[in-house]
């Protein structure tokens, strides 16, 4: 049995934040779950995917976040408790559905997880999704620890059913990807089936209906305010004349700092866990008894601005600060030392940070950015596109996935990136206003997610670019989730359809479509050359399973390669590919047989044919 289905209330488990959220949903009796995978949210839905295979839980990997929200919204409108899970930028994709779902509301509880990523560990921006709560008018809750994340899910479902509207559950990477002890609660039996009652004058958002529903949303906002005022997740601790208002993971750093700086009798803390709408009476009462107040929140000054406005309403003139030159930044995630320093600065405490390690005698430590894996088929495709485009002036719009790492030298095959699907859309613009050859890259899962409308646009508006679809048979970057192009029977799962990328591309009307096997360097390079010379929209589908995934699925493995004595140290292999299976030893190129996957791409570009398969040992 899946560990998160354990029906032993009171048992303690060490869980990842994301597992705790999934467990919280199970305890709340969730029956319908959906997602498009995105770091840092992915393990929530991986857990649902696994549990759905051995319980009544429904789970789907939807094509994108908008669809994930729509399927879950429909289930919730039939009275079934539903959850949809996405990363912060996924909410942008789903925002069209979200803004009007706020008007329509739900019958059964619906919780929308928005996993924000301050510092952009795995994201293209660090937008603060608390503003989605403000913009949509929907309630939002935020946990400060792994254990609280679990309990807060049940609270969010109950809140959703009290207000008949979805609740936004916001996390940050530091909660999603922390591990902590969780005490299991009782599992509420899920209600699997619902029913839909026709009610078009409340559910079909034509203008006349929407005008009425907006009134209802505002009435709900007032109800939510009352609930926020009374919520046990807006909690006050400590005592003193100084105040700190904080949320999320920062609460931990504030508590650490209060201990380190011996401030237990000087500072009281208001931790906001129910963050939209903010509770004005609670906050006003809190700040009235303070000489000065510091707001500790990663991201935007969402609470700070609200608290200042509340102080103005009360005619209070105490100092309230958060984001400032000498205090907190809007940038990145916070760390304990930074929070301690800002508390000391704001409250005028005599404090010296610990002496930095003296590294004057220590050698510099080179950066180690993530790289494409040994044997990654993307590396092969990039190499071939560069060979095929030799002598051409190129622009390489890229997209969201492992393959974005083509950015780094020596591959340098990424020139422009906005969001999921932008490789295709931006190609049209680049090719219209420049005379450069535009070659765009998109992964298989991203193509389904939002590449298809861009390709239709390219065909319709007769743009001139080549789109390379990097089909490695999985959503690799987020941990190998399936997508509509995957043969699910290979995962021993029945009851799924399958969509062929090639058939979709042809049906869209692309006249030049070619499929390559990227480990065949010469043949692929020639095919790419032809596609690049085509005037109009051409598509290359590069098919080869993700090397890591192939290993995990126990697909047949190739023999590793070695550098033989024929090597004359041209270093073409390293300088063109920089595969991590290479290492330099005694000034010579070597291949680590333990990392080499036997893709043989380096062997095909070696001018001396010096790279050979490792012989069987006798």
């Amino acid at each position: 049995m899946h560990k998160l289905l354990t029906d032993k209330a009171g048992e303690q488990m060490l869980l990842l934040g994301n597992e705790a959220i999934a467990r919280g949903a199970i305890e709340a009796g969730v029956a319908f779950t959906s997602t498009y995978p995105g770091t840092p949210s992915s393990e929530i839905s991986t857990s649902f995917f696994q549990m759905a295979q051995e319980s009544d839980l429904y789970f789907e990997y939807s094509t994108n976040e908008k669809i994930a929200m729509e399927v879950a919204a429909a289930a919730a409108n039939c009275g079934v408790r539903s959850m949809c899970v996405m990363k912060h930028v996924g909410v942008n994709v789903a925002a069209d559905a979200l803004m009007t779902l706020a008007y329509v509301g739900v019958k059964g509880g619906m919780v929308i997880v928005s996993a924000d990523d301050p510092f952009m560990f795995s994201s293209q921006n660090e937008q603060d999704n608390r503003f989605y709560a403000k913009m949509s008018g929907l309630p939002m809750v935020e946990p400060s620890s792994v254990e609280e994340a679990k309990d807060l899910v049940t609270y969010a479902f109950e809140l959703s059913e009290k207000l008949n509207e979805p609740v936004l559950f916001r996390t940050t990477t530091r909660i999603n990807h922390s591990t902590g002890i969780v005490t299991l609660g009782k599992i509420r039996k899920p209600v699997i089936k619902g029913d839909f009652t026709k009610d078009p004058l409340n559910l079909v958002t034509v203008p006349a209906v929407a005008r009425k529903l907006h009134v209802k949303l505002l009435e709900n906002y007032d109800k939510a305010l009352q609930l926020a005022e009374a919520s046990e997740y807006n909690l006050i601790s400590g005592r003193g004349k100084w105040g700190i208002i904080c949320n999320g993971v920062s609460y931990n750093y504030v508590n650490d700092a209060i201990k380190d700086l011996n401030l237990a009798d000087k500072i009281k803390v208001l931790r906001i866990g129910f963050s939209h709408p903010l509770p004005p009476n609670l906050i006003k009462k809190f700040i009235k008894n303070c000489e000065k107040v510091l707001v500790v929140e990663e991201g935007e000054p969402y609470m700070e601005e609200a608290v200042k406005a509340m102080a103005q309403e009360e005619g209070l003139t105490l100092e309230i600060k958060g984001k400032a030159k000498d205090l907190f930044t809007r940038l990145y995630e916070y760390n304990p030392g930074q929070v301690r320093q800002c508390i000391a600065t704001f409250f005028g405490l005599d404090y010296t940070p610990p002496a930095a390690v003296d590294v004057s005698d220590v050698p510099p430590v080179p950066q180690r950015p993530p790289t494409l894996c040994a044997g990654c088929s993307h590396r092969a495709t990039y190499l071939e596109v560069k060979k095929a485009a030799e002598g051409m002036e190129t622009v390489y719009p890229t997209d969201i996935g492992c393959y974005t790492l083509g950015l780094l030298p020596p591959l340098s095959t990424a020139d422009f990136l906005l969001c999921m699907g932008s490789s295709v859309g931006t190609s049209g613009g680049f090719s219209r206003v420049t005379d450069k050859k535009v070659v765009a890259f998109i992964g298989d899962s991203t193509f389904f997610h939002s590449g298809i409308p861009g390709l239709i646009n390219g065909v319709y508006n007769n743009h001139n670019f080549t789109l390379v679809i990097l089909d490695n048979g999985t959503t690799a970057m987020t941990g190998h989730q399936p997508h509509p192009g995957v043969d699910m029977t290979k995962l021993r799962l029945e009851g799924y359809g399958r969509v062929s990328i090639e058939a979709v591309v042809k049906a869209i009307g692309v006249k030049y479509v070619t499929v390559i096997k990227p480990y065949k360097v010469k043949k692929s390079t020639e095919a790419i050359k032809e596609a690049l010379n085509y005037k109009g929209v051409s598509v290359i589908i590069s098919e080869e399973p993700c090397a890591l995934y192939a290993k995990a699925l126990k697909m047949p493995q190739r023999k590793p390669f070695r550098v033989s004595e024929k090597c004359k140290d041209h270093r073409e292999c390293i300088n063109q590919m920089a595969c991590p299976a290479f290492y330099i030893w005694d000034e010579k190129v070597n291949i680590d047989p333990d990392m080499c996957t036997g893709c043989a791409v380096c062997a095909q570009i070696c001018p001396e044919n010096a790279i050979l398969p490792v012989k069987e040992t006798a």
């Binding site: 922390s178 931990n252 650490d256 993530p370 300088n575 290492y583």
Partner: protein, 207 residues
């Protein structure tokens, strides 16, 4: 924690794909079972492959600590790659820190293409020894390869941590947790790796 700092801060670091998450979870579960409150902060995701990664473990008898270790407050650094140990020591180190590091180096892409120079294992070892209270250098990858698979390098390092007696973990507890965590077919290999790592530091003088 009697005889241990409160809270106890452990860093597990290395290169993405080396298995630092697995051993930080095993350590976390062993300590949880003993009644400690454990909080672990991690960097991971396939997007971290081949990059610098670390987990921070905060272990307490008193309360839940935040998942990140404040600068300069690591008690032990367990590293699957020597340059990564030094990287973490620069921010989290202090004169009292104890360090256990694998000796197998992993060259980043810029080192391969000759853009920057890898410090070299001897320089790294002396820098790590110089900046720490005690340092143990363990040929963990060599031991793992000797056992048949580099994949158990992380478990050799876990064994080395237990043998160094720098944390309240017994060999028996580590063996039990490895049995509970690792798939059946791999248990013997992993137990062997654990024991070989344990022997490298048990009673050994630190550098």
């Amino acid at each position: 924690m009697k005889n241990w700092p409160e809270p106890f801060n452990l860093v597990v670091c290395g290169v993405g794909g080396q298995g630092n998450i697995l051993i930080s979870r095993i350590i976390g579960r062993i300590l949880t079972a003993q009644g400690y409150t454990v909080s672990i902060g991690e960097t991971f995701g396939a997007a971290q492959r081949g990059g610098s990664v670390f987990s921070s473990l905060r272990i307490s008898e008193e309360r839940l600590y935040g998942p990140l270790i404040p600068e300069g407050q690591a008690n032990v650094i367990l590293s699957l790659e020597p340059m990564e140990a030094l990287r973490q020591m620069k921010f989290l180190g202090n004169p009292q820190v104890r360090v256990l590091s694998n000796t197998k180096i992993v060259q980043p892409a810029d080192v391969l293409t000759g853009k920057v120079t890898y410090p070299g294992i001897d320089k790294l070892k002396s820098a790590i020894a110089h900046l720490s209270k005690h340092a143990w250098f363990v040929p963990a990858t060599d031991i793992a390869l000797d056992l048949g698979s580099a994949i158990v390098t992380n478990i050799v390092m876990l064994g080395a941590l237990v043998g160094s007696k720098t944390m309240p973990i017994s060999l028996k507890q580590a063996e039990d947790e490895v049995r509970a965590t690792i798939p059946d077919a791999q248990i013997e290999l992993n137990l062997e790796a654990l024991n070989r790592g344990y022997q490298t530091t048990l009673g050994a003088d630190a550098a």
